[in-house]
Symmetry: C2
Subunit: 436 residues, 2 copies
């Protein structure tokens, strides 16, 4: 895979755009059309790019896409990957081409970005409250009869607000909503089944709205105690399933199917199992998973979590990290300290600092793997502090490259308007854009 | 000031651009030319925008610009504000119109962004090492004889690299460099005066290079112990001044002036005082301060630091916070918990979490100030958890607005491609773009 499949999205305006000098990672001295990037013969290992640079390994993306398709087939679930992770139309296209049911998003402006590039089914996994945001969503629905949007509600106030807006807008089809079930002390969502049922009944009886299913986010339960997490996730999923049964028993669902959605990037196997084997209800139940981080995975938090997931699945072919940030040694001011030109503006720092994977002196040859003695110990806005073992002081010079893995893809993607696609030899084959 | 002075920069392409629906903060259902933003009659207090939204209070920007111009005049220093803070051409323009000597930047791609919009003098306060980045900088210098760039060096390898590149490029004028003096255990920069002198001599004798001065960054000394900081900063500045004397004594400077540059956003008063009153050298010494955060200040780390600075100056008219992020209450799942639609993608979280300043029910009336009992206790990628006092449980509903201050402007600016300018009544008067 040297280019990504487009999934029918309208990506040519991105490929045709003229990129000016100044885009992070690109070594431009004159504007360049984006589709020409893969034809320049750039190789990161030869230091042909600007640094820092964010890289996506296309072979690993392909592996992760295939893995997730097989996972969903095995479990009888569909995937609406959380697009907020990457906010990249090209990656949305690859996910849709790979069979994704839709794209999940977190805000109205994110939905507008997806719709602009041709995404036709969106799960807005968030409460839709601001008047301008509601107007924007209703505009999309009115503008394009083929555009589908499902949003969340967790309060009677929220339901009233949406019902009034839909009526005022004269939307000809009902707005489908999922009731969000929450967790005590955690984020949004009804705290008890009774509260959730009250919201569900309000939706079902409101003009212009349709109760389309139940939603929850078990990812908020990730803690240091995995065994306890698993019990809590299972209990939460049982509560969601019970809520679906109760709503169905009261004939509150009126759409063609019942959407039952959960599944972050840590415990989506538990979700798939918890949603499987529901007894027959009045209409088909569609389990919708929403993992966003499966596509690139990472070298930290999510690699650890998905390795455990892979073990629970009893397999050995799990998700692999596809995203790296490479930077150059700008200074070697002390024997065990190197200063890299990569900072908080370039790599995630919210869950863990980047992990130094390899060093490489630009030119032929393969990068050298770094052992545990090498580590990023701090980042400023534009710099990282790489500590190296005393015995390795002679191995790293000004102008050498250091390839880093990151922890938490969401907060690295949002630092790069453009990421480069590379093959196994770190040859640049193309680029993807992001819209944050 | 309803619009910002452009400082002679080429900003009309930004004002003329057609913004598509999907830009964070903008309530668009159809594309809008940027210069039309201020004519829409939007008021944040009426919830006319999308949320979250990032706001710059123009009256406060004006105050901070005036304050800084007066400060520099008082101390006989010039300002090359660090542009990496905002990366906003419109704000660069306002700073240049306010008398800034140039713009400081941290990377080659940042310099390209500034040059693209017409910035004519850049201090690249970083080592310039990557071949593509060196080529890009030499291209700018060759392309436009009026473009000035000064960069840093802290190693003999770095000097050789730059000298070779300048010679190979056939640049007709020398590349001016400052020797970076560093601090033990801190970031880049020579660790001893001897090392710094060796680099200075190498620059002075290298073909194509010119020793233009000495640079350091005292901002790395900010700690919890202010008194100790001040002593350390003073000692560091004395070392820099001594280095300038020594270089001048060896006749290593050959340019029209000697640049002596330091000054982050915490201790620039110490820098201005430390650089004042140098005895006469072979040519004029130009003290160049580089504060980036003075322009917007913040409601956290920098507000505290600049209040202390203002006290040291013996004044009472100090820098004020101009940057706020407003979001809407999406959920009120528990009496003392509100979930806001603002997350790690929208507001700084690296030095401190945002500070909840005011609440407001959209419509007429003024926002209500929040006391210490209200606080953001956590953020996810797209959400904040606002804890409120039990006694205030009835005061905040779904759909209410919460205005937050942030700590560390650099890591809020980089989360917004566009920030809205507002007047004292939160009426939207325009917008500025950022290029990260």
């Amino acid at each position: 895979m040297t280019t990504l499949p487009d999934g029918g999205l309208a990506l040519s305006p991105l490929e045709e755009q003229l990129l000016p000098p100044g885009v992070k990672g690109l070594p431009l001295t004159a504007p360049l059309r984006q589709h020409m990037i893969g034809l320049q013969g750039w190789n990161v290992l030869h230091a042909d790019t600007s640094f820092p640079v964010a890289l996506l390994k296309t072979a690993v993306l392909r592996h992760n896409l295939d893995w997730m398709r097989a996972f969903c087939q095995r479990h009888g679930a569909v995937l609406a990957p959380h697009g907020k992770t990457t906010m990249s139309p090209q990656l949305f296209g690859a996910q849709l081409a790979n069979g994704a049911w839709g794209i999940t998003l977190a805000s109205a402006t994110q939905v507008q970005v997806a719709a602009r590039f041709g995404v036709r089914r969106v799960l807005l996994a968030n409460e839709l409250v601001a008047p301008a945001d509601i107007r924007a969503m209703l505009h999309l629905l009115r503008d394009d009869p083929a555009f589908e949007l499902i949003a969340l509600a967790d309060s009677l106030e929220g339901v009233v607000r949406l019902a009034e807006a839909v009526t005022a807008a004269g939307l000809r089809r009902p707005l489908p909503l999922l009731v969000e079930l929450g967790l005590a002390g955690k984020r949004a969502g009804c705290r008890t089944p009774d509260e959730a049922m009250a919201v569900a009944r309000a939706i079902a009886s409101a003009p212009g709205l349709q109760l389309a299913g139940i939603e929850g986010y078990e990812g908020l339960l990730v803690s240091a105690d995995r065994d306890a997490d698993i019990d809590r996730v299972d209990a939460f999923l049982r509560q969601m399933v019970e809520l679906v049964r109760q709503c169905d028993g009261e004939a509150l669902f009126t759409g063609p199917r019942i959407v039952l959605s959960a599944g972050g990037s840590a415990y989506f196997d538990l979700v798939a199992r918890g949603f499987a084997g529901l007894p027959a209800l009045s209409r088909p139940v569609l389990p919708v998973l929403r993992s966003g981080c499966y596509l690139t995975n990472d070298h930290g938090h999510y690699l650890e979590l998905t390795r455990e997931l892979d073990a629970r699945e009893g397999r050995g072919d799990g998700l692999q990290p596809a995203l790296e940030v490479w930077s150059m040694v700008l200074s070697r001011p002390e024997p065990t300290l190197a200063i890299l030109g990569m900072g908080k503006r370039d790599a995630s720092h919210d869950i863990g600092l980047p992990r130094a994977l390899v060093r490489h002196r630009p030119g032929p040859g393969r990068p050298v793997a770094l052992d545990e003695g090498w580590g990023i110990e701090k980042m400023n806005d534009q710099h990282a502090y790489l500590r190296l073992p005393e015995t390795a002081a002679g191995e790293l010079a000004v102008g050498d490259l250091v390839g880093c893995g990151i922890s938490h893809p969401c907060t690295t993607f949002d630092k790069w308007p453009l990421l480069l696609l590379v093959d196994e030899a770190y040859r640049v084959t193309g680029a993807v854009n992001t819209f944050f």
